[in-house]
């Protein structure tokens, strides 16, 4: 319940619990609508185009059509007034589309060739849409990849080519009850796995917290909480080139062993929580700590917990220091069938300027993907958010292979079997790898 398969931030998380059936049934309908004509077979080169074209210099002109989901879509239209002022001949038309139908709409648009110029794309969709030959590679020199958080930039790269630009990001950190931690004798957050266990043990024994550290016991999206432990132990989900899964690693076993210990030692539960139970139990003090993203700050406050009673901290590393967390968010991509590609890329370029990113945070509270955007405005002063800013420097995006969601479901299922004692860690790691190999990367 705390996490979600498609890591596109707060809006996405909320929306797609409802979104999924519509989206998948629609995919079924779309796919079903393809009539039975003789199949011609795959050509030997079935990959998408990777050649990059420069964009023209000068100001943007003409109409630029943009799709954006959720509140982003509602706010972007008035936000781009500044862009239109700077580019008097350009006219930006924003269409807000609901997250529920976004995947399907984009997929249909790519299939029919009738796309907008730019769209917000959930990071886990990048692999699929780029491999479907729907997105245009990012022109060289459009933006400086180094100005973005590395994990965020990696979410745009599929098989070595970048197909968009990060727009906003989110990452997962440790939330804990400051007051209860103080009762348990902790005036700071744990900074290693050993300390994390001790922290949970103290919360339970000294502060009487029923469930000191809730982490998700398998099922959809649990990989987002479990894999940070694997990344922290030095694991990678794919090889360097991103062309083969490497799940059966020592780091996977180390991460899962620790994850499992949180259940075996009674710090978390193998039962499922009801919607909203995490926040209400945290507010009541029945849950002492958990791992989640920035949207949880508001939800916890809504559950009635005073802001002074809880704090956030970076994920602890395996031995010491900061661990590696999960990075999600949204990317901006230009379609291969865009009618105004030059204007579209110029808009994307504008949206990734540091000051524009800072302003966008003020408008939407979306965390900026550009590092220097964190230096200005209210972001620089917010203590809780600065923890997220710190954690973003040490975050991994999941692989951008088109089959990742399917592999992630396998990982979810193996995590569940491990924490419930149905499978030992070694067997789970080798099962993940075996299944991932048979699924393939889809590249």
């Amino acid at each position: 319940m705390t996490t979600h398969p498609t890591p596109v931030g707060r809006t996405r998380r909320r929306a797609s619990l409802r979104a999924a059936p519509a989206r998948r049934l629609a995919a079924l309908a779309t796919a079903g609508a393809l009539l039975a004509l003789p199949a011609c077979g795959r050509s030997s080169d079935s990959g998408p185009g990777t050649s990059k074209q420069d964009i023209s210099s000068g100001k943007a002109t003409g109409t630029i059509t943009v799709w954006a989901m959720g509140t982003e879509g509602a706010e972007l239209g008035s936000f781009v007034k500044d862009f239109e002022t700077a580019n008097p001949d350009a006219d930006v038309k924003v269409t807000a589309i609901p997250w529920e139908s976004a995947h399907d709409k984009i997929s249909t648009a790519i299939a029919s060739g009738d796309t907008p110029d730019v769209s917000l794309i959930g990071t886990t969709w990048m692999g699929e849409f780029s491999q479907a030959d729907g997105l245009e590679p990012t022109p060289d020199g459009l933006v400086d990849p180094g100005s973005f958080y590395e994990g965020a930039w990696n979410s745009t790269e599929v098989d070595g080519t970048s197909y968009g630009v990060p727009w906003y990001v989110e990452t997962r950190v440790l939330y804990y009850r400051k007051d209860l931690a103080a009762q348990a004798g902790w005036d700071k957050a744990p900074t290693s796995w050993r300390e994390l266990s001790a922290f949970a043990a103290d919360l339970k024994s000294k502060a009487g917290v029923d469930m000191p550290l809730y982490v998700q016991p398998g099922q959809t999206g649990s990989w987002q909480t479990a894999l940070p432990f694997v990344w922290s132990a030095g694991g990678q989900m794919t090889d360097q080139a991103g062309t083969a899964y490497t799940l059966d690693s020592d780091a996977m076993k180390a991460g899962l062993t620790f994850y499992k210990s949180l259940f075996d030692d009674g710090y978390s539960t193998t039962g499922t929580l009801d919607a909203g139970q995490l926040e209400s139990d945290f507010a009541k003090g029945d849950i002492g700590a958990f791992i989640s993203g920035p949207w949880e700050i508001g939800l916890v406050k809504d559950a009635g917990l005073d802001a002074g009673k809880f704090a956030v901290a970076p994920l602890p590393g395996q031995e010491s220091g900061m661990g590696t967390s999960f990075i999600g968010g949204g990317d901006l991509a230009v379609f291969r069938d865009a009618k105004n590609r030059d204007g579209a890329w110029k808009l994307v370029q504008w949206l990734s300027q540091p000051d524009v990113q800072t302003n966008w945070y003020e408008t939407m509270s979306d965390l900026p993907a550009v590092k220097s955007a964190w230096d200005g405005g209210s972001l620089a002063d917010d203590q809780m958010l600065s923890v997220f800013g710190e954690q973003l420097n040490n975050g991994e995006a999941p692989p951008t292979t088109p089959t990742w969601e399917q592999v992630a479901a396998v990982i979810d299922s193996d995590i569940e079997q491990v924490v419930k004692g149905k499978k030992d860690v070694g067997a789970a790691a080798s099962d993940m790898q075996k299944q991932a190999q048979s699924i393939g990367t889809g590249l």
Binding site: R23, A31, G41, G442
Partner: protein, 316 residues
């Protein structure tokens, strides 16, 4: 409707025109043309929106089409029955097929017995019948999401109504939805409760067609209430029972929503159904594999329906 009326019109025309073939052939042709004209919109809609996708998905099930092929759906490889072979070797498919079979085998009789009991009960009372009928039917028209929220509360391990009541009689109730052995039965009971309303209404209508004089005659001959029910009522409403069994089985074979909103297919895939798995595979973009699975389910629906027709058909 269009085809039906057109066909009967054509039949009427054939009968009426027989005595005067020459003159009739003109008017018959005109009537045929009109009939086709009336039937055309339906035929077109049927071809485009029903037959097309059905054939399209059949074609998909014998190719390796994925979601990344949407721009060139015909540039995919023909793989014959590979998807089907892979499916029958997939251990998760075995699990979901077993879950679905359990759901049907336990759920359909349970729903039918409960619905029949409710119908018989309602048939015997005259006061408050409308009230009870609405009460039993209400779950059918209630949103599954609202139902699931309430049932999750009822089945909560601590403080849930079910376990609280069990606690009164000294039973320590389990965590219903977190147990691999109890989650599916819990969903079956919920589905039976949710679906019995429709069958009850149908059965109630059936019970009212049972001739009163036959029942009276049986009663004069000394038949007990159970004997009257067993030997008069049941045989009379046999076709209605068949109808109920068929529509309930078809619905239960495609069981999805309950698991989706209550357990997300867990714990440990114990409530994942064939439809749920198909839906997963479509979501993962494996269109060919998912289409193959839909066809396996389709064949299962047809087979089960045939079996039921055979088992419950009217004995002459």
């Amino acid at each position: 409707m269009t085809t039906g009326s057109a066909a009967s019109q054509a039949a009427v025309a054939t009968e009426a025109d027989r005595p005067a073939p020459r003159r009739g052939s003109v008017s018959r042709r005109r009537q045929t043309r009109t009939a086709w004209g009336l039937a055309l919109p339906f035929c077109l809609l049927f071809l485009v929106f029903t037959a097309g996708p059905v054939l399209g998905s059949l074609w998909m099930s014998v190719t390796d089409i994925r979601n990344t092929d949407i721009r060139s759906p015909f540039a995919v490889n023909f793989v014959g029955f590979d998807n089907y072979t892979k499916l029958f070797q997939d251990p998760l498919f075995h699990t979901v097929a077993w879950n679905t079979a359990l759901y049907v085998v336990l759920g359909v009789p349970l729903t039918m017995v409960m619905a029949l009991a409710a119908a018989v009960g309602l048939n015997g009372i005259s006061r408050l019948r409308g009230f009870f009928r609405i009460g039993y039917y209400l779950p059918v028209v209630t949103s599954i999401v609202a139902v699931s929220v309430v049932w999750r509360f009822l089945l909560r391990p601590d403080g849930g109504l079910v376990n609280t009541v069990l606690g009164y009689v000294g039973i320590d109730g389990p965590a219903w939805l977190d147990s691999t052995s109890l989650a599916l039965p819990s969903l079956i009971v919920m589905a039976a409760w949710r679906n019995l309303g429709t069958l009850m209404v149908v059965f109630l209508a059936g019970l009212q067609t049972v001739p009163k004089d036959v029942l009276e005659a049986a009663s004069l001959d000394g038949a007990s209430a159970w004997q009257r029910f067993r030997n008069v009522t049941l045989p009379t409403i046999r076709p209605i029972l068949l109808f109920g069994a068929v529509i309930t089985s078809i619905g239960y074979l495609q069981f999805f929503e309950e698991a989706y909103v209550m357990t997300k297919g867990g714990p440990l895939d114990s409530t994942r159904s064939v439809t749920f798995y198909t839906y997963d595979q479509f979501g993962f973009g494996n269109y060919g594999y998912a289409a193959a699975m839909s066809y396996v389910l389709f064949v299962a629906v047809v087979l089960l329906t045939l079996i039921q027709f055979r088992a419950l058909r009217t004995k002459d």
